[in-house]
Structure formats: C-alpha cells, structure tokens
C-alpha cells in the first residue's frame, strides 16, 4: 500500500481522484483496531477507509477476478493485496464491476493481471484521470 501512496497518490495531485482503502482480516493480528491504526497513516482527503470484517467484498472481488482458491471448499480466493482502477462512468450493479485495470501482489495470479509496479500503475491512473 505504501507503493500506491508514494507512487500514485503522492504523484497525482488531482482532486478528482477517489481512493477506497478496504482493510480486511487476512493475517493473524488483523482486526478493526489494526485497520483504524493503519488508516490513520493515510490522511489524504481523497481516501475513504472501509473495514471488510466478514470479507464479503474480498470474496466477491475474488470471484470476479477469478483468483485461485487457497482454502478447501472455496472455488476462488479472497481479493487482498489487490489494486483496482475504475474509469469514470463504471457502475456497480448487483456485483462489483470489473476494473478498468488492476494489479496485485498475489501468489498464483500472475496470468490474471500484472504484479504491482507503482510506476506502471501510476501511468494507468494518469491516463484515466487525463481522459476525464
């Protein structure tokens, strides 16, 4: 996340851009208090923070992005360490929409989307911001 902060948000000052940081319990000590503490590190007014305690959004995005399953009984994985870009005009109907572009830092998802590269992600965001 610090890569996106330093390479994307810090270098694209556009007030038009919106960012939603969705914190979810993946690692042992992940909870709402930890999410609040992490959120406090990102005071950028363009950012809105959310807690996905039941991982409902994580599962929904995992299904959408076809992330590989890491748990028995699940057809797909949870989306985390995933960075999604949406162009203006994309709407969220019953399920989350497919991103305009996305990157990740997930094992086993290399064929689905590129690994996170701050400069490349910034290029994509800049393209979308300039088109508006």
């Amino acid at each position: 996340v610090s890569t996106v902060q330093s390479e994307v948000l810090a270098k694209i000052p556009s007030k038009d851009l919106r960012a939603y940081f969705v914190w979810l319990p993946i690692l042992k000590n992940d909870d709402l208090a930890a999410a609040r503490a992490s959120a406090a590190r990102f005071p950028d007014p363009r950012i809105t923070h959310f807690w996905d305690g039941d991982k409902a959004l994580g599962w929904a995005l995992g299904e959408l992005l076809k992330l590989p399953s890491r748990e028995q009984g699940h057809a797909h994985g949870v989306a985390w360490d995933a960075y999604l870009l949406y162009a203006p005009g994309v709407h969220w109907k019953k399920t989350p929409p497919m991103p305009t572009f996305w990157m990740h830092q997930l094992w086993g998802a290399d064929e689905l989307a590129p690994l996170l590269d701050g400069a490349k992600f910034r290029e994509q965001v800049e393209t979308v911001v300039k088109k508006k």
């Binding site: 994307v8 851009l17 979810l24 992940d30 959004l57 985390w80 911001v129």
Partner: protein, 40 residues
C-alpha cells in the same frame, strides 16, 4: 506525542465495506481506486 497519536486514531473514520457500493456509485463521475489491504 501519545496524545496526538490517540487523537489521529480517533479522528480516522473506517466505515463498513457494505457501504462502499453506495459511495462508489456516488463518485461514478470520478476515476476511482479500490485497494484491498491487510492492516498488519
């Protein structure tokens, strides 16, 4: 310093992800990022 840290923690709002859809739609005219993150 601890007082300041506590104040920052208290004033950072973390909403419920169930509300993200409404926010996403309200901001539909804007370029948007969704970052899925572990807090630790």
């Amino acid at each position: 310093v601890l007082w300041l840290i506590a104040l920052v923690l208290q004033t950072t709002t973390v909403g419920n992800s169930a509300d993200l859809r409404a926010r996403f739609e309200a901001d539909a005219a804007h370029p948007r990022l969704i970052l899925m993150l572990s807090p630790t």
